[in-house]
Symmetry: D4
Subunit: 249 residues, 8 copies
Amino acid sequence: MYAELLVQLLEQVRSGKLAVPSAVAQLRHLPFEDLGFAKIDHHRALRQGFPEVVMGQGKQTKDIAAIVAAMRRHGTNILVTRLDTEKMAQLKRLRTGLKFHPSARAATWLGKPVKITGRGIVLVICAGTSDIPVAEEASLTASMMGNRVEKLFDVGVAGIHRILENRLRLDSAAVLIVVAGMEGALPSVVGGLTNKPVIAVPTSIGYGASFKGLSALLGMLNSCAAGVTVVNIDNGFGAGFAASLINRV
Amino acid sequence: MYAELLVQLLEQVRSGKLAVPSAVAQLRHLPFEDLGFAKIDHHRALRQGFPEVVMGQGKQTKDIAAIVAAMRRHGTNILVTRLDTEKMAQLKRLRTGLKFHPSARAATWLGKPVKITGRGIVLVICAGTSDIPVAEEASLTASMMGNRVEKLFDVGVAGIHRILENRLRLDSAAVLIVVAGMEGALPSVVGGLTNKPVIAVPTSIGYGASFKGLSALLGMLNSCAAGVTVVNIDNGFGAGFAASLINRV
Amino acid sequence: MYAELLVQLLEQVRSGKLAVPSAVAQLRHLPFEDLGFAKIDHHRALRQGFPEVVMGQGKQTKDIAAIVAAMRRHGTNILVTRLDTEKMAQLKRLRTGLKFHPSARAATWLGKPVKITGRGIVLVICAGTSDIPVAEEASLTASMMGNRVEKLFDVGVAGIHRILENRLRLDSAAVLIVVAGMEGALPSVVGGLTNKPVIAVPTSIGYGASFKGLSALLGMLNSCAAGVTVVNIDNGFGAGFAASLINRV
Amino acid sequence: MYAELLVQLLEQVRSGKLAVPSAVAQLRHLPFEDLGFAKIDHHRALRQGFPEVVMGQGKQTKDIAAIVAAMRRHGTNILVTRLDTEKMAQLKRLRTGLKFHPSARAATWLGKPVKITGRGIVLVICAGTSDIPVAEEASLTASMMGNRVEKLFDVGVAGIHRILENRLRLDSAAVLIVVAGMEGALPSVVGGLTNKPVIAVPTSIGYGASFKGLSALLGMLNSCAAGVTVVNIDNGFGAGFAASLINRV
Amino acid sequence: MYAELLVQLLEQVRSGKLAVPSAVAQLRHLPFEDLGFAKIDHHRALRQGFPEVVMGQGKQTKDIAAIVAAMRRHGTNILVTRLDTEKMAQLKRLRTGLKFHPSARAATWLGKPVKITGRGIVLVICAGTSDIPVAEEASLTASMMGNRVEKLFDVGVAGIHRILENRLRLDSAAVLIVVAGMEGALPSVVGGLTNKPVIAVPTSIGYGASFKGLSALLGMLNSCAAGVTVVNIDNGFGAGFAASLINRV
Amino acid sequence: MYAELLVQLLEQVRSGKLAVPSAVAQLRHLPFEDLGFAKIDHHRALRQGFPEVVMGQGKQTKDIAAIVAAMRRHGTNILVTRLDTEKMAQLKRLRTGLKFHPSARAATWLGKPVKITGRGIVLVICAGTSDIPVAEEASLTASMMGNRVEKLFDVGVAGIHRILENRLRLDSAAVLIVVAGMEGALPSVVGGLTNKPVIAVPTSIGYGASFKGLSALLGMLNSCAAGVTVVNIDNGFGAGFAASLINRV
Amino acid sequence: MYAELLVQLLEQVRSGKLAVPSAVAQLRHLPFEDLGFAKIDHHRALRQGFPEVVMGQGKQTKDIAAIVAAMRRHGTNILVTRLDTEKMAQLKRLRTGLKFHPSARAATWLGKPVKITGRGIVLVICAGTSDIPVAEEASLTASMMGNRVEKLFDVGVAGIHRILENRLRLDSAAVLIVVAGMEGALPSVVGGLTNKPVIAVPTSIGYGASFKGLSALLGMLNSCAAGVTVVNIDNGFGAGFAASLINRV
Amino acid sequence: MYAELLVQLLEQVRSGKLAVPSAVAQLRHLPFEDLGFAKIDHHRALRQGFPEVVMGQGKQTKDIAAIVAAMRRHGTNILVTRLDTEKMAQLKRLRTGLKFHPSARAATWLGKPVKITGRGIVLVICAGTSDIPVAEEASLTASMMGNRVEKLFDVGVAGIHRILENRLRLDSAAVLIVVAGMEGALPSVVGGLTNKPVIAVPTSIGYGASFKGLSALLGMLNSCAAGVTVVNIDNGFGAGFAASLINRV
């Protein structure tokens, strides 16, 4: 609506009805953002063909369904994260058209095929079977954001040969996401074996003094391998997202 | 010593003294690492023209000087980090040939010119003037590792216009390192303004409930902007190293 | 019982049976509080037309109903806070006359219309949609205490343009309440944009290392913007109450 | 520099040299902030006659002296906080013209007399004699920002009569700053005795399980008296600043 | 079994078969505890007419019933603590003869009347209505252990007159138990008003940064009033027990 | 100033100029505290012959000397606590008349002999030799407050026979103070061996995960022996004070 | 697949088609792990006749049943840990052949009798009845791993005679596992009474400031008895496993 | 003194003056410990030829010298731990006869040669060069206690080949001590490579979120490799002591 005001104002300047100093003064009081001036683009993800992301946690099922329905009308791809078993069951009954990924606790809808725009492979590694849901969330996120994703699961440091046997795969990737709970030692070992950026994801797996992932988080922050960066506990989505940005540098 | 054993074994195979199945069986019991088989290369940094890094903290000055002297004989570039004022003064007296960077609390020696191998610009941002030493450590690390580095300092969130005025610079970088103490909010704002990977570095700046950087660390881990990853408190070196790996993806 | 003693003492003074110095001495030994002397008024809120407040959490529904019934007999306005869905449903069945505000997890009863006695506008801002219940509790509290209240929701720092577009509204308010979870960065940005007192409310929104609001709380306490004060995690009521006192300075 | 560009552009529109649509397009590409459009004013404090504030902690004495000298040339009032005994002695030798306030660990310089612009009295209360430096910092800050300040020191809760004897003074103030270490209980008692906003400042006074102010901080955040808000540990400046904003609502 | 050995040994001494020095030597090697020598009496409570105490938490209802039945056969008084609503209902159905005290979450059985053996009055004070269950547990424990108990509830520090009006009662007690949650300030105020030993009991009442009683616990440990000692969070039983020991000094 | 008003008022009553009910009404509005009515006595310690206590920590030596000089004029006994080696040396040079107790890090001055008013013996026990300074502070405090004090040092639980050999002494005491660092287990063992009140004092002795006394503090709060209460870390004075109050119940 | 390559290569050497130096060079580039060379044996437990261990926590019942069925086909002994009541009930209905040990929250299946290979007795001690499940888990683990196991339960330090009466049993064991919650003091006492290695297991038993076992954990880490080592909170399995390794040294 | 009583008593039995049952009864009331009955031997270490241990930290140099002198008179071997550079220098000047081990921050005196009584090799491994002092303390302790000790230093997990190359040495040891700071991951890797008991020692090496060893401690407690037990931060002595006990099982 303000765009018209701007045109009017300039027309008045042009026709001499408005003196330049007055025009300057008036321009100062226009709500500039709404004019599109140097508009800060918050649709940064969309510009790169990234999907819209809906955080399922803390939202009611019917609200998720409504958001999805609205997004589908725009044809954008959709990623819904943090869906527990019950919410998935409810969403299925609501016939939203979503495809469910139980192992990643997520759902997706594709308005158009995902186009691979990431440079290399995003390799998602996890230490134990309990870490898989977080690793799958990271994998699905990276996939939906246009990356080739490979997985290497259950290769914890207590059986160090498991990761060693796959050393060549580490170097073949462009970015690595390493998911681990308990003492969170895997990223240090992986970081020492490769030259590629490693995103470490602590999980809340463990008991007692694991303090719901705090132990793994601290372990990863103190990693003796340089080149390791860390995201929040259980934040598979954040790791997948960061890996996607890195894979486009 | 085992190398000879291997040659002997193969010679025996060649001469028919040893049957192939027996040779296979014997090979299984050789301590393979000492044979140099598939040696795991721990000089990963060097292979890419990265400098040798000496962590100054916790080392005595004379030991640092000795290490540097040894390295200089190989002609490798050298980066010495975590040097306090006193150690710098002592090292100067020892005539090591090091060049000192007081603002980064570091020193360097160049056996050969640093070659720019990083794809784009590494932009190092910091929130307050007290965060500068950590930001300079990150900058120097990235420079020594072959990246073009730019700096944008003292742009904290309490004066949000300072970062907004430089928004275009954010997008012109390939990777961003954002250094902040106190509440650690700057990476969230920066992450929301750009599509590039953001490495957040909490600093121990602040007092009272900042708990020596814990507050900033938690703030960054909980960043509401996706794509932000975090390194340890005051770990400018780690951030510069990770940015260098990302800039080569 | 002591009131009689006082009257007796004064009668003795009057009749000349007790000399004034002796009366002074005796007065010193009477337990003054029970005489009603200089009674400390704890009905501070009521004197200003504030409502009676009932904390719903930790109380059984029937007790809340009884308290409300008793208060209604005095005609005072009532604010019941911290009502979960189940308690609300039970209270509805008990026909207490309460009006329910589910988004604020609260209920009210008006014995008389709320009179606007606050000087200016209390602007309640929140960062994400998950922070809304706490923001609504703050808004309702301030409304019930006689303030004009405006709301600005879902303007988190990862999309900084959202708060910038509403900058004029910040300055039009007398007091600001800023509600945020995760890293709790919004109060710093808001505090940097305005000259008005900012009350920051951390929420328990987030996961992993948000530690149920601790991360946001620390972030707010360490705010780099002067003029920000903080209340307890999720304490929307406390923020609304403090804003009301400030709005009457 | 861009201001001229804008005038030029408008002049061109006025003279018909530039068509309106072209002008609109060009305007979109000007770096708006530098044009002064909707410029975000970060000199918020200065506009109200507030002093420039220099945080002494973490700065070298010669840098403080240089900053002060530069500010004096603009004639602005200056408040330097967090000066330890040694820095004060050094600054004295540097003949900066600063006036020192050792009890507040601060220094000031007045380019013009402080004008009282705050509505009422800011009453600064502290619990023990060890809390006085923080209380003095708060007092000096509020004074320098144009408030009438009164003090009520050493009135901790273990001798409850001390605060009771001064109850009338509590009500005569517009805003109260309550400084306490150890268990941090004083703000609750004060908050229960008055209707005025209370800003609580925890101090790092205490030993053992006081954990450098954490105990007092938690106590204040959990205050059972509504209307109490909290600032960071030992943050007398922040409390004085917030009180000043409140005193202008 | 060893008792016989002892008798045998002494018989041998008596009959002259064993010389005294040899007997001394042999005695040294007997496992003395099993002989009942200098048996350390762990029935310390019972010796003073204290009841047997059964901790209900973590025990199944049928086990509690069995223990109570066994104890009843000895005629000892019984105190069962930490019974939630469901366990009480189950125990009622099991017809154990227990008398239930829902407000103290406890049950008792009296084999003989409780004899008052404590010197003076144990006064149990609590800050808010939510603290009452813990206060009642303390009261019931002290009662069952032979003390005259008085109660003063809902006298929190935010309404300081409530505790002041009852100051005389504080001095009339021999020992005070002060129960409080949130900031835990009440023991400091009470300790400042009386010369009697004060046992402080933090409760888990509160939310957000109360961290399930940690805030109150730290507040009480840092009490500025000398003479205050502290027990574990919610440990009404421990406070009642300690008060009983103190009341017998 | 109000004292005159009171006399005037009573004179008016006496002379019949003021009716009794009017006098009662007027009395209600006088600020009672300033009249000295029902003055809350904060000299509670002094009334029982307790010494004046000066906390040396955080005070400058000359201030301590001045306070001591002032107190000496009143003839009261004096206890100065928390004096480090340097402060003691300085105080000695200031000829204050104080007697120094280096092992207790304290000093005393006796205006009159200490009179034993405590009922029984206060037994101070400590676990290791490093805990002795805290134990001596507790002992000296209890001595100065009129108790017979006995000591039992270096009887930690890793050599359980040491405390067992002294079991009779435990029962001969009226109150026990048990000082321990590291895991803080001694109070549990002592509490299990006696019927007397046990005050546990955690010390900051230990390293690594002792976290400056936190480990011992938590251990004592969780003591499995009922009847144990706890004071702050290193708070020997507080324990001695509490023991003195208990010894007068 | 690589195995064939190796055979081919050796055949070529044998037949003289490949020179020895060339063979050495080629061998260096084979991915050695896949050849089975120097395979790191992760079946370390099995080699010693240890059972396969299935962690029941976090696994669904049907998955546990499937794993058990697969293992039974190999005839290995099986230990399933961390089974809650409900999972046990479900597993019973699935007819897995497992034998259930409710007190240890575990189940076992024996393909062959457990052979005693441990040197001496593993003595499992626990402090209170609530610690028994963890102690039973440790006992069962040690039994299944081929140790003679003895138990000494409910011998907490508050009744020190209970452990003293059993002192001889302490010395008769080869390794001791000491399980305790609350203040975790028992390992210190036991460690002081014997020369044998003590493995301390903190349990999450307690309330309030026990912080789910943190208090016991810290107590044990700070044990004043040398020779005590610690495992994670509630980690009975880990203690039993470590004890088994020690019992084979 | 009681010894005579015992002899008297037995004499009376012998002479028939005291009936056996009466003697039994009287024996029950003698304070047994003072009789030397079943004396609990606290010289447990000495009995096995272990050295006397003096903890240097917190002791003054002259006291250490005095203790050493006294011990030397008994001819026992002596181990003095936790000596910083300054104390060593002072002790040297005191001519105590001690032999200094600067790398272990310790000193020893041998009254007689250490006899190897441990079964196998104690292998001490450390992750980084900064961990060496703690590792040396562990090595020296184990040596002094009669074990063959081998060392494997600077084999951190970021260069995993370093530990792999030494895998055979792991299996050749009887007990392993693994010392690591930062993320504390090495014990997990080592534990996964061997069947031997692993004692993990966290060190305070690191910065930022290493929190003085807390991060390494938590990592080790949460180790995914069974058979790992943990001692306190920097507790090399404790690890060496525990390893010695294990090596004698």
